[in-house]
């Protein structure tokens, strides 16, 4: 039985087995390769996507659990290729290096800043507990997020 969901505003139907990780449905079936399968154990956060507006790790979310739900991936956060305020600040802060963690970072932080418009530095760091980065040493990412918030 196909699994139906909305992905970045579009109704989609997946033929995947119900226990297939959502990350594989998005990448292999829908060719949305923004989210990255890096650890496949919910610790690195590179596959983070919004499910009904909440950031979840797509590697540990079975496809069956997103039946009827609305999914937004990093590709869906920048309509028409226009960067959102967080992405713009990350460019300005020269924060990006290899870039593999950023699809997840951007999803997590975009959601976090919407929920917590004026965060402290420690709150931003705590929000990133599930988003590892091996290149940057985090500080510019944190600084860009604080910059978006104007704090």
């Amino acid at each position: 039985m196909p699994i139906e969901m909305t992905v970045n505003g579009e109704a989609r139907r997946s033929a995947a087995d119900p226990m297939t990780p959502l990350i594989d449905v998005l990448r292999d079936e829908f060719h949305l390769t923004g989210a990255k399968p890096v650890c496949r154990e919910g610790f690195c956060g590179a596959c983070t996507v919004l499910v009904d507006g909440e950031p979840l790790v797509a590697c540990l979310t079975p496809a069956a659990l997103v039946e009827g739900r609305e999914i937004r991936t990093v590709e869906g956060l920048s309509a028409g290729g226009r960067l959102n305020p967080l992405q713009t600040r990350l460019v300005e802060h020269d924060a990006v290096q290899c870039g593999m963690c950023f699809p997840g970072m951007v999803v997590t932080l975009t959601h976090f800043l919407a929920q917590t418009p004026r965060p402290s530095r420690d709150q931003v760091r705590a929000a990133l507990t599930g988003n590892a980065c091996r290149c940057t040493g985090y500080e510019r990412i944190v600084a860009a997020a604080l910059d978006v918030a104007g704090v």
Binding site: Q87, Q97, E139
Partner: protein, 785 residues
């Protein structure tokens, strides 16, 4: 005419990377592509008795199976000791036995399970102490038959390579009546790069040639090694490299590419092979574990009269990068300080464990840890302030290194002064709690791995330029910032107007690869030369067009004009178009390679590099708080003064320093690799291998030290590799200072620190390192074969 390539140019790939549009190798595929998987040995040592693929080959969807018979060649560094598949002897858990390509990943996995394997177990040697024991079983019984690729290293049995550096009369120095002898021992574990993108490749076999798209730092090594394994001419292999999702040295060697290539040829289809995270953990080319014994003879005034050291580096089951890295001991453990006489031996030792490899600043990281902790132990023995000891002894103008290289200019001393000013500017961080506080300032010596690079610059008639190199975009600033800045500055155009082509061995000439801090230096030198040729050609055409002499022209802001106010001129696009019409499209080529700075004859034996073309220095300072009840170390502040020669892009360098220091904090505090009794790496992913997270780090205070001499273009040095160099050292020295404990090991995880504080940790004892330095050598230093 001088041009200024210093800019704050932002990465052009940031937007795509932030919106998920960048397509790394793992994001690529081809219609009709097959999925590959590798069958790996589950024992550390054994004889392969049977490998029967017939049942697997008959399974649905299985298109090709490759085994040792398909890959006859051996490759390696220094010695060709490594075959692609197990031939008859398994040497580590995870060693490849066969590779399969099938229509789906599930079918490929099913085929692996259907391959019948019988391995007769042999005793496994998992630690260097056992490998060096008298009468130890040989991991490579056929070691004498291997082809030697570089002469000079001593080898025998389980010692894959031995390099020595001897300068001066060390025995006499140690026998001086006025010296006291300080001896220290150290041990470090392995470090996993945890690059987010696993090693991955998509291969095709087209028109009688292999085309491999791969996540690598070294397209030419992949080209040549793949050909070597498969026994085909290197010209039959083409390697292209999409953006790489993290590398840090992990991808500085051939990896899984030959499997994909072989299966593509056998199946006639495109083949995709991506390591699982578990495979990445199991077969990571780690920064090697090492054991170090170092002794110094020092006078009461703090002069280092003599020094000797033995460094054991675990290369795992095959020599690989460690063979080369035996070289770097002389330049790192033998660096930093002026030493009267010294003798150093660095031994790469085989064990039945996963092969180790290269990792950002490689063995420099732990040799610096050992040297700086040893230095603090010397200072303590002399009752001298460790900073004062360093001020007196750091390498200065005209001082000799361990191989007799003469260092130029005063660099480390003024850098230390800068650090002291930084330290003085902020009070030590303390909180009102029961923790133990400490700090340390350390120095480090590293280098730029120069060597061959090539570049072509094509000038387009629209005023833009295309830079063609074998450089790879791995996230450092070189391809996106440094190189376009160099070309743009030379041509008087904007860096936005310089396209940088992704690496393609069919399009650009040989390159050593992206690593060793070399890309902006070596590719930069080649790119500069290529751009200068273009510049000369354009100026010549413009001179004709303007009826002027080329020397009277200026080339800037997209125009070539006669110098002076209101000088007539043309846009560069107009000149380029005119040149194209007159003589054809304008292009320039450039090349660079090692300069070959001299060492002292006879000092270095078995070395790949006798002297450093471009030394790079670093001074770090770290403040820590140690919880004596739980062993947790918190880094409170971190400062770096880094010798960059000249900073082309301060923001890009700052990003490398923050990122490199944090990787070093992981090495110093969190990242542990352990091997179980069966020889299997115990850490299997991000849960058990702990990289630093956002709340574990501090903003690094950075000061770039400019003006030290450098052979690099514009006087630059590599800036991305060295930031990790003395982090382990700084943290270890700071923890030792905070606790008074004798820190001998990294990483300083909470259990290890608590064990140290509770006296549960016995002092290191290396029965396999002889107290007599000469007894550690396979053959005397002055009797090379």
């Amino acid at each position: 005419m001088s041009v200024d390539a210093v800019m704050e140019f932002r990465r052009r790939d940031a937007g795509d990377k932030l919106t998920g549009r960048t397509r790394y190798t793992i994001d690529r595929g081809a219609p009709g592509m097959l999925h590959a998987a590798v069958l790996r040995a589950q024992v550390a040592s054994g004889r392969l008795a049977k490998l029967d693929t017939s049942k697997a080959a008959a399974l649905p969807g299985v298109r090709a199976i490759a085994t040792a018979a398909d890959a006859p060649g051996r490759v390696g560094i220094g010695i060709a000791d490594h075959s692609l598949f197990v031939v008859d002897r398994v040497r580590y858990v995870g060693e490849p036995l066969a590779a399969v390509a099938a229509d789906t990943p599930e079918q490929a996995q099913a085929a692996l399970e259907a391959i019948k394997v019988e391995i007769a177990p042999l005793p496994a040697i998992l630690i260097m102490q056992d490998a060096l024991a008298p009468g130890a079983p040989l991991i490579h019984p056929e070691w004498e038959d291997y082809k030697i690729l570089l002469e000079g290293g001593a080898r025998a049995g389980n010692v894959a390579w031995e390099a020595t550096a001897v300068r001066g009369d060390v025995d006499a120095a140690f026998a001086r009546p006025d010296v006291r002898i300080v001896e220290s021992t150290f041990r470090v574990g392995r470090q996993n790069h945890m690059a987010f993108e696993p090693r991955a490749a998509v291969a095709r076999y087209e028109e009688g040639r292999f085309h491999i798209e791969t996540s690598t730092q070294v397209p030419w090594t992949v080209r040549n090694a793949t050909a070597g394994f498969l026994g085909v001419p290197a010209s039959q292999v083409r390697v292209t490299v999409p953006p790489v999702g993290g590398a840090f040295g992990l991808k500085f060697d051939v990896a899984i590419e030959p499997f994909a290539a072989l299966l593509a040829k056998l199946s006639g289809r495109a083949v995709r092979l991506v390591n699982s995270r578990e495979e990445e953990m199991l077969t990571c080319l780690f920064r090697e574990n090492a054991e170090i014994r170092i002794r110094s003879a020092v006078t009461p005034a703090g002069e280092i009269a003599g020094r000797e050291a033995v460094v054991l580096m675990d290369c795992g089951a095959y020599g690989g990068e460690q063979i080369f890295l035996t070289t770097m001991t002389a330049h790192t453990l033998g660096g930093n300080y002026r030493v009267g006489a010294s003798r150093l031996v660095s031994r790469a030792v085989y064990t039945n464990t996963a092969p180790n490899g290269a990792f950002r600043a490689c063995n420099g990281v732990y040799n610096t840890f050992a040297l700086e902790r040893h230095t603090d132990e010397i200072a303590a023995a002399l009752g001298m302030d460790p900073l004062e000891f360093r001020r007196r002894n750091v390498l200065g103008d005209g001082d000799l290194g361990a191989t007799g290289q003469k260092f130029e200019a005063e660099v480390l001393r003024p850098m230390l002064e800068r650090m002291e000013a930084l330290r003085a500017a902020a009070p030590p961080r303390r909180q009102d709690d029961e923790r133990l506080y400490g700090r340390a300032t350390t120095v480090g010596t590293w280098f730029v791995f120069t060597g061959p690079s090539a570049a072509t610059v094509n000038m387009n008639a629209d005023g833009s330029a295309t830079l063609v190199t074998s450089g790879v975009e791995i996230g450092s600033g070189s391809m996106m910032q440094g190189l376009p800045q160099i070309v743009a500055a030379t041509l008087g155009i904007q860096p936005e107007d310089v396209m940088v082509r992704q690496a393609d061995t069919d399009a650009a000439g040989y390159d050593v690869g992206v690593g060793g801090g070399r890309q902006t230096v070596s590719l930069g030198a080649a790119s500069l030369q290529a751009a200068q040729e273009v510049r000369g050609k354009l100026l010549a055409v413009a001179a004709q067009m303007l009826d002027a002499l080329p020397d009277d022209l200026v080339m800037q802001n997209g125009r070539i004009e006669i110098a002076g106010p209101n000088g007539a001129g043309f846009s560069i696009a107009e000149v380029a178009a005119q040149a194209q019409a007159l003589v054809g499209p304008v292009a320039g080529t450039g090349a660079s390679t090692r300069k070959g700075v001299p060492s002292m004859p006879g000092c270095a034996v078995g070395h790949f590099i006798d002297a450093l073309d471009i030394p790079v220095f670093a001074v770090h300072d770290c403040e820590v708080a140690v919880d004596p009840e739980t062993g947790h170390v918190e880094v409170l502040a971190y400062r770096v003064v880094q010798d960059v020669g000249r900073a082309l892009n301060r923001s890009a360098i700052g990003g490398q320093i923050q990122g490199g220091v944090v990787q070093g904090l992981g090495y110093a505090l969190h990242e542990e690799v352990s091997i179980d009794a069966d020889g299997r790496i115990r850490q299997n992913g991000f849960e058990t291998y702990r990289v630093p997270l956002a709340a574990d780090v501090v903003p690094v205070e950075v000061e770039l030290y400019e003006g030290a001499p450098s052979l690099g273009p514009f006087g630059i040095k590599g800036a991305g590799e060295v930031p990790i160099l003395n982090v382990g050292a700084s943290v270890a020295c700071a923890v030792a200072n905070a606790t008074g404990a004798r820190v001998q090991e990294l990483p300083l995880t909470p259990p290890r620190v608590l064990a140290l504080l509770l006296g549960r940790q016995p002092e290191l004892d290396f029965p396999h390192i002889s107290p007599r330095w000469d007894d550690n050598l396979l053959r005397p230093h002055d009797q090379p074969t």
